[in-house]
Every structure is written in C-alpha cells, then in structure tokens.
Amino acid sequence: MENKNTLISELKTLIIESLQLEDVAPEDIGPDDPLFGNGLGLDSIDALELVVALEKAYGIVIPDEDVGKEAFASLSALADFVARERKSASPE
C-alpha cells in the first residue's frame, strides 16, 4: 500500500506537470476521481499528452483507447496500471 501511495503522488505530479494544470494542486485530485470527462475537465485530446508523458517516464505504451479508458479511469486505476505494466515490461 505504501508503494501505491508513493506512485499515486508521483503520478499526480506527472499529470499536473505534463498537462500544465496550473490551478490544480496535488491534493485536489482524489484517488478515485475520474481523470478525464467530468473530474478535472480534461478531454480525450488532453489524454494524448498523458499517454506521451507515461511513455517517457515509465516506458509503458497505451496502444488503444480501451486500455486508455481503463488506465485513466482514476488516479488509483492509473497507479495499478503503471505498477502492473512496469512489472511486465522487459527491461531495455
């Protein structure tokens, strides 16, 4: 659980920085809030930015919209996704 909390706060920073959410503080993003759609008011094109940022930061690829929907459902879901993908990704 400790690891997941660390990852969640790491991801909060990544989201705020990559999407340039200047008026959003890390504590504004709840672990179960939807990231796109209603939550932060971000749309699917904003998600492209996060797709690229995740690839850069963790080397994980989001190949299609279905995977994206699952990964971006919430911060908690994203943390689970990143943890799982990182584990299965072969080291380069």
């Binding site: 094109i45 904003d46 492209l48 930015e49 690229v52 940022a53």
Partner: protein
C-alpha cells in the same frame, strides 16, 4: 615595382573576401537545430525540399522506398554544400518499416521538428481497367503512409510541444482527372486527414498543413502521356510547368515559424491551374 601588382591584387582579394563574409545575410528561413524528415526525399519535389531545408540549417533525414542510389546522391549533394543529411530506407505503407525508421530517429537525433509527407505514387488507369492492386498500392502509399508516419511523429511532437507536419495533395483531388480515381481519391483523403489531424494536435503546438503542387517538372510528370501534359499546359494561367524548388518555397513557409498561426490549410502551388 616588381611584386607590387600581385600584392595589391592579394589585398584587394582580402578586402573583397572580408566584405562578402561580413555582409549582412538575409536568410529567408532559419532551421538551425531543427530536425526534418522528408518522405520520398531522394527525388523530385522531395529532393528539392530536402536541399532547401538543409541549406537553411536543418538536419535532414531523407526517407526513400527503393532508390538507394538517388537517396545517397541527395545526401552527398547536401553534405557537399555543407549541410547535414542522412538517408533511411522505409516503405511508408509498411508499419514495421516506419516504426524502425522512427526508432532510428528517437535513438539518433532524439527529436523531430518537421515532417514532410511527400512520398506518393501514381498508377493511372481508367476505373474499368484498374486492378485491385493498382487501387490498393496507391491508397497504401498515399494515405496509409500518412497514418503510419504522422502517428509516430505525433508521439515525438506532442512530447516536444512543437512540430510542423506538411502533407502533399494534388489538384486532382479537387477537379478530378480521368484515369486517376485511385490517385484523386487518395489525395482528397490527404486533405480530410490534414484538417482533422490539425484539430487533434493544435493544442500541442503541432501544426498540420498541406501543399498542393500542380504540374511540376518531376519524374511523375514524365509518367503522363505527352498529349495529356500538353493539354494541361493550356490550362495553366502561367503557361509553364512549375519547378520542384517552387514547391519547396511553400513547404519552407509551412515548416517555419512564420506560419505559426496556420493549421489545417492547403496551399496550392500550381501557376494558376485551378
């Protein structure tokens, strides 16, 4: 007095050299530190675009499908002129080829500022006699080639928050031409693709436009029957064919920061054909 004359000549030369080398340079466009990829960059319009970008400081990657000799010639011509260029082979219609090419770009220069989607082919036939292969191959290169290259480029450009994509369409897409149902359909597709991708990428400062060259003196023009070419000449307001360099002028503008408020547009370079 002997030896006096050569000395003055040398001094004159030195003064002239100093003058020329210190003359204010009026560079039309500056692409220093920019990395550009030109698909189908070894010949015709692609070659002219590659040379023009390199001349203005861009590091140019020349993609070619099959003609390695032409690609190497363009690379060496650029290098001789003091520019930076390299060639990468890839069939733009082949996803694996394109992924490998972009892998080389990521591992090499590590960025891509300008993508010129110039690769294109003709397989002119009247529809009644057009084989499925003629149809598929034209669609694969002219349209799927945009899907493959733009998809890989978008990844890099979104991350950079900067990019210029320039696609190539044709007057055939607008006015139609007998024998070009495949080509015209593919080039009309380029316009829709350009306008749509422009909307997807604008917020990342990645701008997507197209050039629409008319009758340009390239190998593609020579593929047309002579009477067709002559007939076309009649319809051109300027009564002459264009040069690849004249198309490169429009590409340079769209690749430069001077066009930063332009996206999703088509610039026609056809001497008044349409």
């Amino acid at each position: 007095m002997r030896g006096h004359f050569p000395l003055t000549k040398a001094i004159k030369r030195a003064i002239l050299f100093f003058y020329i080398s210190h003359m204010p340079k009026t560079m039309d466009f500056d692409f220093a530190n920019r990395v550009a990829l030109v698909t189908g960059g070894s010949r015709g319009i692609g070659r002219a675009v590659s040379m023009a970008l390199a001349e203005r400081g861009a590091s140019v990657i020349i993609n070619y499908a099959g003609n390695r000799e032409a690609a190497e010639k363009t690379v060496s011509d650029i290098q001789t002129a003091g520019g930076d260029a390299r060639a990468i082979q890839a069939d733009v219609a082949d996803t694996t080829d394109v992924e490998n090419m972009f892998g080389e770009i990521r591992n090499g220069p590590g960025r891509l500022d300008i993508l010129v989607n110039n690769a294109g082919i003709l397989r002119d036939k009247l529809l009644m006699f057009m084989s499925e292969d003629d149809w598929d191959r034209v669609m694969d290169v002219n349209i799927k080639g945009l899907y493959t290259c733009c998809k890989s480029a978008a990844r890099l450009m979104i991350g950079q928050k900067y990019g210029k994509i320039i696609n190539t369409t044709s007057p055939s897409a607008i006015v139609g031409r007998a024998g070009q149902t495949n080509y015209a359909a593919s080039k009309a597709g380029v316009i829709g693709f350009t306008r749509s991708l422009a909307r997807e990428l604008a917020r990342f400062h990645v701008y997507v436009n197209a050039v629409c060259p008319g009758m340009i003196q390239t190998e593609m023009l020579h593929q047309l029957p002579e009477n067709v070419a002559e007939e076309m000449l009649e319809g051109i307001a300027m009564k002459r064919f264009g040069t690849p360099e004249e198309v490169a002028g429009a590409v340079l503008f769209l690749a430069s920061e001077k066009s930063d408020y332009i996206t999703g547009q088509v610039i026609t370079v056809d001497g008044g054909l349409t």
